[in-house]
């Protein structure tokens, strides 16, 4: 029987069979383009769209939880169809991820859709950090000291700090920071729209710009003073040329030596302190008035909630995953902060997988090959016999 791995993120879903080497990354949404009025774009169909300005998004997730099934069904239908994965439901088991503390009624609806609508043969539900921990354990097996792993998963809707004892998440010490890629993009949109150019409708373009030019500062005060300077001394400022989707198909950074006024018809945004002040929200949510600890502070707070004996293991095995881990400087910043806050007696070890976006999915592939995997699944027969109870007993969720 084949196993399909679906890391169902609120921003992008990572999907593929356990035998594939890479997952397909599918935007988990339905998109409408302002200038294409004849159709809608489901998931990765958006790649067929030539004009990506003023996209309208329909998202199945709200604050990281699956609430809109009408949209999710469309995306899943597309993912399981021959266009993407060509799933033979009668011959396939599914491994699907959900957030920590997923609400029971959402869990039930997932069971129901998987078994009754799609008729998969077996199901395993888990969380992306749990998978990441599993892979980190096997990847680092030589070092030996793997009592504890701390997974920091910073995604689209929020960031989770999850301590593990061996492979078991310590639920009472999980911390959620309600800042993710979506908040960063929305804040960048707001800031640019006020300071330079109205871009409130250009979520796609601005998100791309964020990915192209934003970085996490490791010397915030110094970067601020550099950003105050004028061109040759100011090494931070970048001119970003926006796409117009006729001549310029994608936004790009202009080389610093060519910076200056926009040429011809092109539209330009100058990214100066915005380059590092936006990702700062991950570390200081209070900068925009979200009264929560940032990532580094939350990691240290998490250490106060777990057994004292576990702390050195956790601090030495921090894994950074999720899309925000792709921001340049992210790991350096977490290391710098944690090192400065943690006791000198502890070693701090942080790693970022080569692809933090697909790490949980890759791990799902490994897990699917594990001989214990079949015993972690609920089969359709079990579900039909015992209903949701079978799933509640089997899955380590909520």
């Amino acid at each position: 029987m084949a196993t399909l791995i679906l890391d169902n993120g609120a921003g992008t879903a990572k999907v593929g069979f356990s035998t594939d080497s890479e997952p397909k990354i599918i935007p988990n949404c339905v998109t409408k383009a302002k200038n294409v009025r004849t159709r809608i774009f489901i998931g990765d169909q958006i790649e067929e769209c030539k004009d990506l300005s003023s996209l309208y998004y329909l998202l199945p997730f709200q604050k990281g939880f699956l609430v809109n099934w009408e949209i999710e069904k469309q995306v899943w239908d597309h993912m399981f169809s021959k266009d993407v994965c060509q799933v033979d439901f009668n011959e396939t088991a599914l491994l699907v991820t959900e957030p920590f503390f997923n609400f029971p009624s959402i869990g039930e609806s997932i069971n129901e859709v998987i078994f009754e609508e799609y008729q998969f043969q077996a199901l395993h539900r888990t969380q992306a950090p749990t998978l990441s921990c599993y892979k980190h354990q096997t990847d680092k097996v030589t070092s030996g000291s793997l009592f504890g792993t701390l997974v920091v998963d910073s995604g689209y809707s929020f960031s989770h700090i999850v301590p593990f004892y061996k492979n078991k998440p310590l639920k009472e010490a999980i911390i959620r920071v309600n800042v993710g890629g979506k908040v960063l993009t929305n804040h960048l949109k707001e800031v640019i729209s006020y300071r330079q150019l109205m871009v409130m409708d250009e979520t796609y373009v601005i998100n791309q710009m964020k990915e192209d030019v934003c970085y996490v500062s490791t010397q915030f005060k110094k970067d601020i003073s550099i950003a105050r300077l004028k061109y040759p001394e100011n090494t931070i400022s970048r001119d970003y040329i926006l796409p117009d989707y006729t001549h310029i198909k994608r936004g790009y950074v202009r080389a610093p030596e060519d910076s200056g006024k926009a040429k011809g018809d092109e539209q330009m945004i100058r990214m100066n302190n915005e380059r590092f002040a936006i990702p700062e929200l991950l570390f200081y949510p209070s900068d925009v008035g979200i009264q929560e600890m940032g990532l580094s502070e939350s990691i240290m707070h998490c250490m106060t909630l777990v057994d004292k004996e576990l702390v050195p293991h956790l601090l030495n095995n921090i894994v950074l995953t999720g899309g925000n881990a792709l921001l340049p400087g992210f790991q350096d910043r977490v290391f710098q902060d944690v090192r400065s806050m943690a006791s000198d007696d502890y070693d701090v070890g942080i790693s970022t997988p080569s692809n933090p976006l697909t790490y949980a999915w890759q791990s799902g592939c490994d897990l699917a090959l594990d001989p214990i995997f079949p015993s972690m699944c609920v089969s359709r027969h079990d579900y039909e016999e015992h209903g949701h109870v079978a799933c509640i007993n089997k899955f380590n969720v909520s």
Binding site: F103, H160, D201, S286, E297, H301
Partner: protein, 156 residues
């Protein structure tokens, strides 16, 4: 003569409308809600009928409802059963799960570090607060921009 002279600053000061604490909090909450928005504008296709689903000429008035045809019967029931908003889910969780770690307990607590302040106009560190609305600014120039654009312009 002397009684006619008056301080401009005192006069202006009396006219100043200052937002109270509640109004400032309301503004702040709106700003935070905006950070969670999926879209800024309304659905651009809202006025559009998909050509296949557009009403046919031979259809009666009673069938003018634009409801999409159900492909499978179960899907229709299903939609009804799981149509729960996020706030309804939160409430349900609050009622059902009183002890043990939950969505609520997992939320990061307020930071113990002092808050940092940035100019609402230019984004650089700010030392001053707008007397009227409480926004931060860093220099006279930014204050001018702020007063011309945002300050009390759209009051919540």
């Amino acid at each position: 003569m002397a009684d006619k002279r008056e301080s401009v600053r005192i006069k202006d000061g009396q006219q100043l409308r200052v937002l109270d604490e509640a109004a400032r909090r309301r503004r702040q909450r709106k700003a935070l809600e905006a950070l969670e928005e999926d879209n800024f504008s309304e659905d651009p296709h809202a006025d559009l009928k998909m050509s296949k689903k557009a009403p046919k000429f031979d259809e009666g008035i009673d069938s003018s409802g634009p409801g999409p045809k159900k492909k499978r019967k179960s899907r229709g029931d299903f939609k009804l059963r799981y149509r729960k908003t996020f706030s309804a889910l939160l409430e349900e969780e609050h009622m059902l799960n009183k002890d043990g770690p939950t969505y609520f307990t997992a939320c990061a607590p307020p930071s113990t570090l002092p808050e940092r302040h940035f100019c609402a106009v230019c984004g650089f560190p700010s030392n001053y607060t707008c007397v009227q609305c409480g926004a931060r600014y860093c220099c006279i120039k930014c204050l001018g921009t702020h007063q011309d654009t945002r300050c009390l312009k759209y009051t919540a």
